[in-house]
């Protein structure tokens, strides 16, 4: 037994080398929309856009595929970002008033996926500073930074503060120019007495540099005063004595005008005419949505155009009473007036316009609006100001994501049809113009294959995303809501959008697609399965609905067939107290080109579907809920099987599972809420005073005392545990269930209580009886039959996470159609098959047809972690073109990835991936077939990661900068890309990824006894004689040596100190 104890420490150099060629962990790119964005900036020279988030991340986007991510050391909200145009430098201001300087720097050439990359650029922090707090009387908030202004020369940074002072920092070294500090008293001196009236001017609200004259800046104070300050002569050129509280300032391009916006919802235009030191009145003053009280205009832009009137863009200003809760941005030019009505808060906006100094007009081409939940781009050159579809930053969460599914190497035929269906959907909002943000160059090679990521949403939609590259772009959207008759049926209340908008003031226009409100939570998608060869899709939802869809290029109006499958199977004493099933539509419904529903199978009771499986070759679907599972033949439209999995003692289930359905959802919602909360916490401006620090410390102390010890009950899982009947996984396989000579279709189902049910299926025209079947009977009249084959009860009763049948070579069986259409190597049907059953606690391989254990690995018993997600993945070698290995990837409840070879189940490597507190991240993880994966790091973002050394999808891009690009010494290529949004995790030592096991010191002198300690390594291969390889033997030989060495060491140590514990 000794050999097993030290088995995992065994290092066969050759095997280690192969492992390095196969496995490598990288978090590569974040897809979707940054969670809780808080700042926006644009570099017009480099055409790059930067977004800062509340969690301290900075993300830079250029042309599709050009992405950089930087992460501040502290998870503090980024409140402002300013580019040093053209330099590839940017400044960020955090909520804690620290200013950070970032740089786009070239990393040294490195190898990615076997391809050498040069000139790859990454974002790195180079410097940071903070304003010194003024000692003495002045409170800390006085030096709290409110605004930053970077002069065009890029040599000076002006900092406006809450105390009204303006500070100056020299760039690029962020040195404070002590002599230049401009305090309010210097300004108030020159004010007329009647304006001064003893009050302070308030915080600096805006700093704007004169567009034509260098060295002159406009300083706007909260109280309304605006000063044109000459930096060189150090005195006020002009004063503009505004009376209304100031929100923002903007220059007109010529420098003859500037516009101020105010908190009463109005804006004023001021003329800058030399010789007039004090301006008391603006040229004009308007409250666009008056006369009733309005909300503040937070930001205003004034852009001149060649064609005539300037374009005025401002956010806010809505009438307080009637539309105070709307998130609006107004675009105004002459008579044209549009109020863009968003579903989430406006964070910031900018226009893309010409920047050449010699040009007379701004001529804005596009408006970019960063909202809390999405990015909206408006084409300002096309009449009507249509919105442009974004090629990245897609709001994945436009309705909450409920599940996801990845399809790799999508056949080109399906791909084309999906693209076309998606184009037809977008219809009128065809892209007229190209994407306005186009900086940088994407160096990544074009994807070798097309990949689809399917996301199911709470509103009953399934969205298809192009996941082939770095930018996740929407392809097609499928809605299942029109299969059902819902409360807000569009056909019930036909409305003409033009009619509605006719008389409305303000002229609202709904923009953006973020829609957090679900019509009916029962529509939510729970499981998705797609057959990419036959274009059949199965979508299952919260109310027990299972919809089979087929792809069609034509528009169709038809009635969807419906079948009801009772999964309780007259189990008595059960009343369902949960939600009702969805009412199917009784009239034919219109279905646009794309996936169109063929059959609707309704499970009863209408509990949420927990598992689906599709075998398009056999025309079968299987589905499971918390009550049982069913098998349906969608070709002949009949239910083949319904099996109840409820345990007779499951009292909770017998009484009606209202609570559990709720609680499941609730817990998910709560966990999301928790994430949100944890991220919001940095939002408030915390003014830390000495008193509050004492209070904090006291509170912390009190908390420590109050904490009661957490205790956990140690009791084996019992059959009576509630939720034991939940079907966790379903799987179809052509294998040997009856005997070792005849294979045929089988169905496997695993439950929450460690039960596995297997059925032998008789599918007409499939299997060994094909010949006699054909000879006479009409094929359509013969039904599919299912006969119970075996019931397996895992002794440890842990939930069955996954079932997979392995062929005679120990490889997973190919997908339907893959074998018959020569798309995969035909499975070995001559040698004995085996089945891999992964429970939450153990991985186990059983031989078939006689289900006897062959190998197992007791993960929970050894590591204390439970299996959450399992996938069989093919890893290709970076060294040998044709070498690949099938590997079992396990994601555990601790958020780490364990890789095992199959069918030997020997641990290969382990990587930390997700924080263990991130329950929704772990729950949302999906794997691709070639070693990549996705998980949600926020409701709106997928983190893409790669376990494969060869297959990586990561941003590789270059930017043409004004300054020479030198590889910075800090980046030596091995540096891991920092990750944004809560993926703060100590990545030290992750480069190697393998955590070493500490030899047990407690049971040291094991050699003295021939017996092993109770660690009898029950995970050892029970019978692996059939699959011993040379490598295994070598593994074994080295480990024995290792073990002996270890024991020697232990013995030597023992002589010194008997133990580390106090007796």
């Amino acid at each position: 037994m000794m050999k097993f104890r030290f088995r995992r420490q065994g290092t066969d150099p050759q095997r280690e080398k192969i492992k390095q060629e196969l496995f490598a962990f990288n978090k590569t790119v974040e897809h979707g929309f940054p969670h809780q964005p808080s700042a926006l900036a644009f570099d017009p020279k480099l055409q790059l856009m930067a977004i800062g988030t509340k969690s301290g991340a900075i993300k830079i986007y250029g042309a599709p595929g050009v992405e950089f991510t930087g992460l501040h050391k502290d998870t503090t909200a980024v409140t402002q970002i300013h580019f040093l145009p053209g330099q590839g430098h940017l400044l960020s201001l955090l909520d804690d008033c620290t200013i950070h300087l970032w740089e786009l720097a070239a990393g040294s050439p490195r190898e990615v996926g076997g391809v050498k990359k040069e000139g790859v650029i990454s974002l790195q922090e180079v410097d940071n500073c903070s304003l010194p707090g003024r000692p003495g009387i002045e409170s800390c908030s006085a030096t709290r930074v409110t605004v930053l202004l970077l002069l065009k020369s890029c040599e000076l940074l002006c900092i406006g503060t809450e105390g009204g002072g303006v500070y100056f920092l020299e760039l690029p070294h962020l040195l404070l120019k002590e002599s230049q500090i401009l305090l309010q008293d210097q300004v108030t001196q020159s004010l007329p007495d009647n304006y001064r009236c003893g009050k302070s001017l308030g915080p600096v609200e805006s700093l704007q540099e004169h567009p034509q004259q260098t060295g002159k800046i406009l300083i706007g104070y909260s109280r309304g005063l605006v000063v044109l300050w000459d930096l060189s002569s150090h005195h006020a050129d002009q004063l503009f004595l505004g009376k209304q509280q100031l929100e923002s300032l903007t220059w007109e391009r010529s420098g003859n005008l500037f516009v101020s916006s105010h908190n009463d919802g109005g804006y004023s235009v001021w003329a800058v005419t030399s010789g007039n030191i004090c301006n008391h009145q603006p040229v004009s003053s308007t409250i666009p949505y008056g006369p009733f009280p309005c909300k503040a205009i937070n930001k205003i832009l004034w852009k001149t155009t060649q064609t005539g009137s300037p374009v005025l863009l401002y956010s806010g200003g809505m009438p307080r009473a009637s539309y105070g809760d709307r998130h609006c941005l107004t675009i105004q030019q002459d008579k044209e007036h549009v109020t863009l009505d968003f579903t989430s808060r406006v964070i910031d906006f900018f226009t893309v316009h010409s920047i050449e100094q010699e040009k007379e007009f701004d001529d804005p081409s596009a408006l970019v609006v960063l909202l809390e939940e999405e990015l909206v781009v408006i084409d300002l050159q096309t009449p009507g100001w249509p919105s442009l579809p974004t090629p990245y930053l897609a709001p994945l969460h436009s309705s909450a994501i409920t599940c996801s599914c990845h399809i790799s190497s999508v056949p080109s035929k399906l791909w084309e049809r999906l693209i076309n269906a998606g184009k037809a959907q977008q219809g009128r909002q065809q892209m007229h113009r190209s994407w306005p943000i186009c900086g940088g160059k994407n160096l990544a090679p074009p994807p070798k294959q097309q990949e689809l990521l399917l996301t199911g949403h709470e509103d009953g939609t399934v969205r298809f995303w192009d996941a082939s590259g770095v930018a996740l772009t929407p392809v097609y959207k499928l809605s299942t809501a029109n299969v059902f008759h819902t409360d807000c049926d569009p056909s019930d209340d036909p409305q003409d959008p033009d009619m509605q908008q006719e008389e409305e003031w303000p002229p609202f226009r709904k923009v953006g697609c973020f829609d957090p409100y679900s019509d009916d939570p029962r529509l939510g998608i729970q499981k998705i399965s797609l057959c990419k060869y036959s274009n059949k899709l199965v979508v299952a939802g919260t109310a027990g609905q299972v919809i089979v869809l087929g792809l069609s290029d034509e528009h169709s109006d038809h009635l969807v067939d419906m079948s009801v499958v009772d999964l309780l199977q007259d189990r008595e004493g059960f009343t369902w107290k949960g939600h009702d099933k969805l009412e199917p539509r009784l009239k034919p419904a219109p279905f646009p080109p794309g996936f169109q529903p063929l059959v609707l199978v309704q499970c009863l009771p209408p509990a949420s579907v927990t598992a689906v499986a599709l075998h398009a070759e056999w025309n079968l679907i299987s589905f499971g809920t918390s009550h049982g599972f069913g098998l349906f033949d969608y070709h002949r439209r009949n239910a083949v099987l319904a099996r109840c999995t409820l345990h007779p003692n499951d009292s909770l289930a017998m009484e009606g599972p209202l609570s559990r359905v709720k609680s499941l959802k609730k817990s998910l919602r709560q966990s999301f809420r928790r994430i949100r909360k944890s991220r919001v916490s940095g939002k408030k401006r915390t003014i830390s005073t000495p008193t509050s620090k004492v209070q904090e410390a006291n509170a912390a102390l009190a908390e420590q005392e109050e904490v009661a010890p957490v205790q956990r009950r140690i009791e084996p899982r019992s059959a009576d545990d509630s939720l034991s009947g939940v079907v966790r996984c379903l799987c179809f396989a052509d294998t040997f269930l009856r005997d070792g000579t005849h294979h045929g279709p089988t169905l496997w189902a695993g439950t929450n209580s460690g039960s596995v049910y297997t059925y032998a299926l008789e599918v007409p025209g499939v299997g060994s009886r094909r010949v006699c079947e054909r000879g006479g009977t009409n094929e359509s009249s013969v039904c599919v039959e299912a006969v119970l084959g075996k019931e397996i009860q895992l002794m440890h009763r842990a939930p069955v996470v996954s079932i997979c049948v392995l062929d005679g070579r120990g490889k997973p069986l190919p997908d339907p159609y893959e074998a018959s259409q020569d798309l995969a190597i035909t499975p070995d049907m001559t040698n004995a098959h085996s089945v891999l059953i992964a429970s939450e606690e153990q991985l186990k391989v059983f031989s078939l047809p006689k289900v006897s254990a062959k190998t197992k690995f007791k993960l929970t018993a050894h590591e204390g972690c439970r299996v959450r997600k399992v996938a069989l993945v093919v890893f290709s070698s970076t060294a040998q073109e044709d070498y690949s290995e099938h590997t079992l990837v396990c994601l555990t409840n601790l958020g780490d990835m364990h890789l095992f070879n199959i069918p030997g189940l020997r641990p290969q490597v382990r990587y930390d991936c997700i924080r263990k507190e991130d329950i929704s991240g772990i729950a949302s993880c999906v794997f691709t077939k070639n070693g990549q994966g996705f998980y949600l790091i926020s409701p709106s973002e997928y983190e893409r990661f790669s376990l494969s050394a060869k297959v990586l999808t990561e941003p590789l891009c270059s930017v043409q900068l004004d300054r020479p690009l030198e590889p910075s010494p800090a980046s030596d290529g091995t540096m891991t890309q920092p990750q944004a949004n809560g993926t703060h995790k100590n990545q030290m030592g992750q480069a190697e990824g393998q955590t070493e096991e500490v030899p047990s010191t407690l049971s040291s002198p094991i050699l003295d006894t021939p017996l092993d300690s109770p660690l009898s390594c029950a995970d050892l291969s029970l019978d692996s004689t059939g699959e011993l390889t040379v490598e295994d033997v070598r593994d074994f030989l080295t480990t024995v040596d290792e073990a002996e060495n270890n024991l020697k060491n232990i013995k030597e140590e023992e002589g010194r100190s008997p133990g580390i514990l106090i007796n």
Binding site: R712, M795, Q842, G864, L1015, S1016, L1061
Partner: protein, 366 residues
């Protein structure tokens, strides 16, 4: 050599005489089968006893005492066969047969029984261990490795664990480190009834894996995953009852000074710590390899006839379900019967392997 052996059958007071090879008596199993065969009681559970030289009625239930019995035959060996359920265990041991005849009493053995009220102690084979202290010889004296045999018991394991801090001596002096402790024992639970675990004992290992650096939830999961055969190494909070090792001695002679669970019983050296009668369970229930013997219920997988439909399949399935349900519960007996009848792997039906016994090494009693 052949010796005649006299047999007295208490079932119906029949007498049989047959011969057995004295030098090579063979295995007990074979002998048992032979007896059942001779008496044509093949389907009956019987208890075999013999009268030794002192006239005591002693049991024959394994190879060793069978050999002993055969060797004591002079030349006749008197064998008593009783139906299992009729056996009065009090009859076994000393002073049984002789009592009625001559009063040749082995005082040495009898002392105990005279001084104390009569204690009924069943046959070892009718017990299964519920807990034991193991590896005493290889552990530091301050540690205790306890094995709880949950398998087949209706008792809950019955304990809780919690987070805490423990103080350790490190090269840098005393250091507080996080640790896992037993926080509560459920009255009447397995953990409490063994007396080997106590509240505030620090858990150091679970089935050979150290818990340092593991979270409470991880340790909880490890214990639950091992719950059918849980081995916890603890540092008892009460260090006064530790095993005192004077020298390195053979594994089976460890002395117990743990009186926590003692209720006035004499110290006994038996193979396992706590023993609970449990009907006719054999040792094989506690096999290490048995813990994972997943139940596989095979249905007679005949090819369905063309006519058979889903409802028939369902009927079949329901029957099976009824059949399997009692097995899924931990009801006494039936589970094991089903288990053994379902066992496909011959290894599972072997008797306790050598390692299994030896592993239990040293003995502490209650």
């Amino acid at each position: 050599f052949f010796k005649n052996i006299h047999k007295k059958n208490q079932l119906n007071f029949e007498f049989r005489r047959f011969s057995v090879d004295r030098v090579k008596p063979g295995k007990f199993e074979e002998f048992y089968k032979l007896i059942l065969h001779i008496h044509r009681i093949a389907n009956m559970e019987v208890m075999i006893g013999y009268a030794d030289v002192h006239g005591d009625l002693l049991p024959i239930n394994n190879d060793d005492n069978f050999c002993k019995a055969v060797s004591t035959a002079h030349p006749l060996l008197r064998i008593f066969i009783q139906r299992q359920e009729e056996v009065d265990y009090a009859n076994f041991g000393t002073n049984t047969i002789t009592r009625k005849k001559k009063a040749v009493v082995a005082l040495r053995n009898n002392d105990v029984n005279r001084k104390r009220p009569h204690i009924r102690i069943g046959m070892p084979q009718d017990f299964r261990p519920v807990s034991s202290i193991i590896d005493v010889d290889i552990l530091p004296e301050s540690h205790r490795r306890v094995r709880l045999y949950r398998h087949g018991s209706d008792k809950p394991l019955g304990f809780y664990i919690r987070d805490g801090t423990s103080v350790r001596v490190t090269p840098h002096g005393l250091e507080k480190v996080p640790g896992i402790f037993i926080s509560r024992l459920v009255p009447g639970g397995l953990a409490e009834s063994t007396g080997l675990l106590a509240v505030n004992d620090e858990v150091l290992e679970v089935n050979g894996i150290e818990v340092t650096g593991k979270s409470l939830d991880q340790v909880t999961d490890m214990m639950i995953a091992n719950s059918h055969n849980l081995i916890v190494t603890v540092k008892p909070v009460n260090q006064r009852n530790n095993v005192v090792r004077s020298s390195r001695i053979s594994g089976s002679s460890g002395q117990s000074s743990d009186s926590s669970g003692s209720t006035g019983y004499p110290s006994l050296s038996v193979a396992s710590g706590g023993l609970v009668p449990s009907g006719a369970h054999g040792y094989q229930d506690d096999l290490e390899s048995d813990e994972d013997a997943d139940i596989v219920i095979e249905s007679s997988l005949k090819r369905p006839s063309q006519r058979s439909n889903a409802s028939l399949a369902y009927q079949l399935h329901r029957d099976l379900n009824l059949h399997s349900n009692p097995a899924l519960r931990h009801s006494n007996g039936s589970l094991h019967k089903i288990l053994s009848s379902l066992k496909t792997d011959p290894r599972h039906s072997l008797a306790l392997p050598r390692g299994g016994v030896e592993e239990d090494g040293t003995v502490i009693t209650l």
